[in-house]
Symmetry: C2
Subunit: 359 residues, 2 copies
């Protein structure tokens, strides 16, 4: 099973009291992990740790979390029992200034949860300190996936919806989570299939596919589909972009592993260049609709059923203009699931549900 319990531990946050390290990154993009955990698991979050923003709240800086405070020292959140690293930098290495904070947390007897590619649990200094204090280090990306895909025993009556992107960090996980929750509230059995470290932290299971050995990405995804296809609908979190200069292989292995019936194309209004690679322009949405459909249809009949815009950087009026422009251009439903609510996208999904489920 492609679950984090594979590694002998389960990273569900229930029962944890988190302080989330976001030093210098308490904002929604580079602090994506922190923002999403605050959004979906606020009851677990005691504070964020960022000495550059002390005294503010997560609501002020991230737009979610209400009065959860930003503190400057571990000592200022004495009830926290777990340090979570709240950023997911490209390349996934530990920012050097964070080492002292991680060590201090371990020495205070706190567990540590990390989604970095650089595993803390095999770092000699961290692992020795953790052993000495009897605390646990959870590397959410650590995995030992070694199964290829088989394309057998897939239950086609389970609707598979996959969020795909124009770029990294545009809202693919958030859209999948919002639609899963909205669908559940209508009495339909739905499951969010987490494929990245933040999604796994929120959902408590999943597979960190960007850290899986490349031959086994599709196999890891297929295992999750098989394990959860008793649901009416699966919302599979996307990764990267099919046109991403760094991560397109991850995106395609995931796309072909989950064989979506429907795709929701996610993008951020106003973004022009590849995130973190300013010298490379993003591809137009219309081109990406064609490319995603071409690639998905190599496996099963599939189409883009809607566009999820992330409009957080523009005004209400600008978002409305953009929404109408994209609707006209692509002839698809378009919404910002946070700003506008998920209803329009939910309808697009419901129209794909098998007759038996709709009846």
């Amino acid at each position: 099973m492609a679950q984090i319990s594979n590694n002998g531990s389960h990273h569900s946050l229930s029962g944890r009291r988190l302080i989330i390290l976001t030093e210098g990154h308490t904002e929604p993009v580079t602090g994506k992990t922190a923002t999403c955990v605050v959004r979906y698991r606020p009851e677990q979050v005691v504070a964020l740790l960022d000495s550059t923003q002390t005294g503010k709240t997560t609501q002020e800086l991230l737009g979610v979390g209400g009065s959860i405070p930003i503190v400057g020292k571990l000592e200022d959140a004495p009830t926290a029992n777990t340090l979570m690293l709240g950023i997911a930098p490209s390349g996934g290495r530990v920012p050097p200034p964070w080492r002292a904070v991680i060590l201090a947390a371990i020495n205070r007897g706190m567990d540590v949860i990390s989604g970095l590619h650089e595993f803390l649990s095999i770092d000699p200094e961290f692992s020795q300190a953790a052993a000495a204090k009897g605390v646990q280090i959870f590397d959410v990306r650590k995995n030992n996936e070694r199964d290829v895909a088989h394309r057998l025993n897939i239950r086609e009556e389970c609707l598979r919806i996959h969020t795909v992107g124009q770029d990294c960090s545009v809202g693919k996980m958030l859209v999948a989570l919002e639609l899963t929750n909205a669908m559940k509230s209508q009495g339909v059995t739905a499951k969010f299939i987490a494929t990245g470290q933040t999604g796994i932290m929120v959902e408590g299971d999943g597979s960190p596919i960007d850290c899986v050995v490349s031959d086994f990405v599709s196999g890891a995804v297929e295992k999750m589909i098989l394990a959860h296809q008793h649901n009416d609908v699966l919302f599979i979190e996307g990764q990267g972009s099919i046109s991403h200069p760094r991560y397109s292989g991850v995106t395609l292995g995931l796309l072909h592993g989950c064989m979506p019936h429907g795709m929701i194309l996610c993008y951020e209004v106003g973004r022009k260049a590849v995130y973190g690679m300013d010298h490379l322009q993003l591809k137009p949405l219309a081109q990406l609709v064609k490319v995603y459909e071409t690639m998905a249809n190599l496996m099963v009949p599939s189409r883009v059923i809607g566009v999820a815009m992330n409009s957080r950087k523009v005004s209400v009026a600008e978002a409305e203009l953009e929404r109408e422009r994209v609707r006209q251009e692509l002839g698809l439903p378009v919404c910002d699931v946070i700003r506008h609510g998920p209803e329009e996208m939910l309808q697009a999904v419901q129209q794909m549900m098998p007759v038996a489920t709709n009846a």
Copy 2:
């Protein structure tokens, strides 16, 4: 650098005297690794080990290697100093009956070279035996790639040619090697960029990209391009297929990592279903030309410049008919680089060379 010397050792075969284990698989497809090492490094091969084929020669069973014998026991090749595992099974695990042979070789004081995903060097029984006898275990696929692609400082005057496939095991490595050798014989500086375990065994460097963590596949390939782009032309070995149900992510990460100016589409005449997945049909060549061009052009202008057919299973007359049929259908040069020689494909590559190099 994305070279096997990364791992503290160099797997070049020079100086080695190999016995290659192919038990029950002394044939060109499942015994691909053995066949390619015999084809390109015959001077290093003492014998093949297959108790089901004792007394025959590699020439009889594989069509290459002249009088290299098939033996039934390690003792029958007393001058061999290295055991190489000569198959590359899907999933990459050690066939259980081979464990005793590997241990016997170690206990005879032989080094072991393996291209499997399951690393022999971290197997307690093998590693303890190797330490006791002072021999080395080389896991060619073992790597610690952790660099993303940057898309900077690419020398566009270096022509990048990439072999791509309709399926696994159709000849992508062989075509790249044959064209590299043919180009070198014309006085052009050319380099074979190995991306799989067998290619690395033959070339002595490369990156086993199907065993790289998926986020870093394109980065691993880009590093090899940067390291060798002082050549006039690079022939980059392809992996899998863009339409492969298991490995398409590897294929796309590689394609976007090497950003080919030209692609050569490789296929095996007569193959109808995905290798090892008989329930799944292969995609037509014409569709694959379009899909590969669509995907490659997301990065740089690129086109399929020819088709390399692997016609080993059909007669000369059938191969000629097929060659002409595909030429007509696709309007591209077509040849079997072994049966027909590489000249037609070489011309297609030369027509892409910069004017300065052609002059």
